[in-house]
């Protein structure tokens, strides 16, 4: 069972269709599946729903798919750093399901874990709670949020092996392990493919069972907000 693919194009071959739901790892521009996003932007696939905390910036990351108008709907917690994202949303050209960051992460985890719904205090009394079931546990009110299963998840890791075992580096881990579990198919891009047995079994973040295809990518790893200790402003 060969999981390693030669290119983003071959790894995505046969997996894309119009109107599909894609879950993407990454936070801002950190730990995003750059190569897979770039490849999707070259296809004619459209009407995508994309679940991702942010949408990159205008010309990098998921912003590329907003620019090509391939995305019909975003499920995100934050729009702040993406002018085109905000513009499309305010102009009514893009649907946006605002989902609190923790709820989004937990929805991905739950979907991958066979949990169709869970209760959370997050968003109670806000617009996020509108239309959702409310339930009281121990005198506190919670709302029901739904587990999310995606048609495809795309993630970025640091190292991976031929079994699909993945390790992430520092805060580039973020949503990637959660997104990996919630895709019916998961494609991972890594900075380095290592031979099997190299990764310490105690230190594998995403066991290979969750990963169907894996490629080595070239990563620009652009920095969104370079802040130095010498900077006056934060």
């Amino acid at each position: 069972m060969k999981k390693i693919y030669k290119s983003a194009a071959s790894a995505l071959d046969g997996l894309l269709f119009d109107g599909m739901l894609i879950a993407a790892g990454g936070f801002g521009l950190c730990g995003i599946p750059e190569n897979l996003i770039e490849e999707i932007s070259k296809t004619k696939i459209k009407d995508l729903t994309v679940a991702s905390n942010n949408a990159g910036v205008d010309d990098f990351g998921l912003g590329q798919l907003l620019a090509t108008r391939q995305i019909k709907k975003m499920i995100s917690s934050y729009v702040g750093e993406n002018a085109e994202f905000m513009r499309q949303y305010l102009a009514g050209e893009l649907e946006l399901e605002f989902t609190p960051q923790g709820t989004l992460a937990e929805r991905m985890r739950a979907g991958g874990a066979g949990i169709p719904g869970f209760y959370t205090k997050t968003g109670v009394g806000t617009t996020v709670a509108e239309g959702k079931e409310h339930k009281v546990f121990n005198d506190q009110t919670y709302i029901l949020e739904l587990g999310m299963m995606a048609d495809l998840s795309i993630v970025k890791a640091w190292k991976g092996d031929e079994q699909g075992n993945l390790v992430y580096r520092k805060t580039a881990r973020n949503f990637n392990p959660n997104a990996a579990t919630c895709g019916r198919i998961c494609v991972a891009e890594v900075e380095e493919i290592v031979s099997i047995g190299t990764l310490d079994p105690d230190e594998i973040h995403t066991p290979g069972i969750f990963v169907n295809r894996i490629i080595k990518g070239d990563h620009e790893k652009r920095i969104e907000n370079l802040t130095l200790s010498s900077s006056k402003e934060v």
């Binding site: 936070f27 750093e81 609190p100 992460a105 806000t126 520092k170 881990r173 907000n225 802040t227 130095l228």
Partner: protein, 208 residues
């Protein structure tokens, strides 16, 4: 009246030894510059880091190491990393002792609005809704009034809420205010601010 740094310094007095704290974007980030001597505090960044260090030197910059404001940061000997679901388990599960956040509006019963202005500005709630719902103590730092001179401490918030009855304390450039039954209790006023000053400018019910 307090400036940004003074507000951060006042907020830093909230910190106690051994606390785990989440600092929001903006003035709250400045609080880490004023952690009192002898007080050991661990900063959480909700993108998946516990034990956040200062901003890096040029040599230390690492694209894989950012905070929730997407700023480059550094790690400490105590640092641990985790995924987003685990990060918010920490937050929602009440394991973080305190969150210090910015706000657009706070109401006299502790409602908080800080994520959007309908039709105008959409930022998104990010992790703020989870933080205010889950963290043990929520402290807001913000200017007392907006650029039109209108009170940001209100009877009721006019903007979409981030959380309902979630704020414990508000620190503004005019003073410190605790959310208590019946209104906002004045804990301290900034040097040069009189009770009359603050009462005139504040829409929310104040309790001396």
């Amino acid at each position: 009246m307090w400036n940004r740094n003074q507000m951060a310094e006042v907020a830093a007095k909230e910190l106690k030894d051994g606390m785990y704290v989440n600092l929001g974007i903006g003035i709250p980030t400045l609080v880490s510059n004023f952690i009192p001597e002898g007080i050991d505090v661990t900063l959480q960044s909700e993108n998946g880091m516990l034990g956040m260090g200062p901003f890096p030197t040029e040599n230390q910059v690492d694209a894989d190491l950012i905070n929730a404001g997407k700023q480059t940061v550094t790690e400490l000997p105590r640092t641990s990393y985790f995924n987003s679901a685990d990060s918010f388990s920490m937050i929602r599960g009440g394991h973080i002792d305190m969150a210090i956040l910015g706000a657009m509006e706070v109401s006299e019963n502790g409602d908080l609005a800080n994520w959007m202005i309908p039709g105008k500005l959409v930022k998104g709630m990010g992790g703020a809704m989870d933080l205010v719902a889950g963290v043990k103590r929520v402290v807001v730092i913000m200017d007392h009034s907006n650029k039109h001179g209108e009170s940001k401490l209100l009877k009721d918030c006019t903007l979409p809420l981030t959380g309902k009855s979630v704020v414990d304390r508000v620190i503004t450039n005019m003073g410190i205010f605790d959310v208590v039954a019946g209104g906002l209790k004045i804990v301290e006023l900034a040097a040069g601010v009189s009770l009359d000053n603050v009462k005139v400018i504040t829409e929310a019910k104040l309790i001396d």
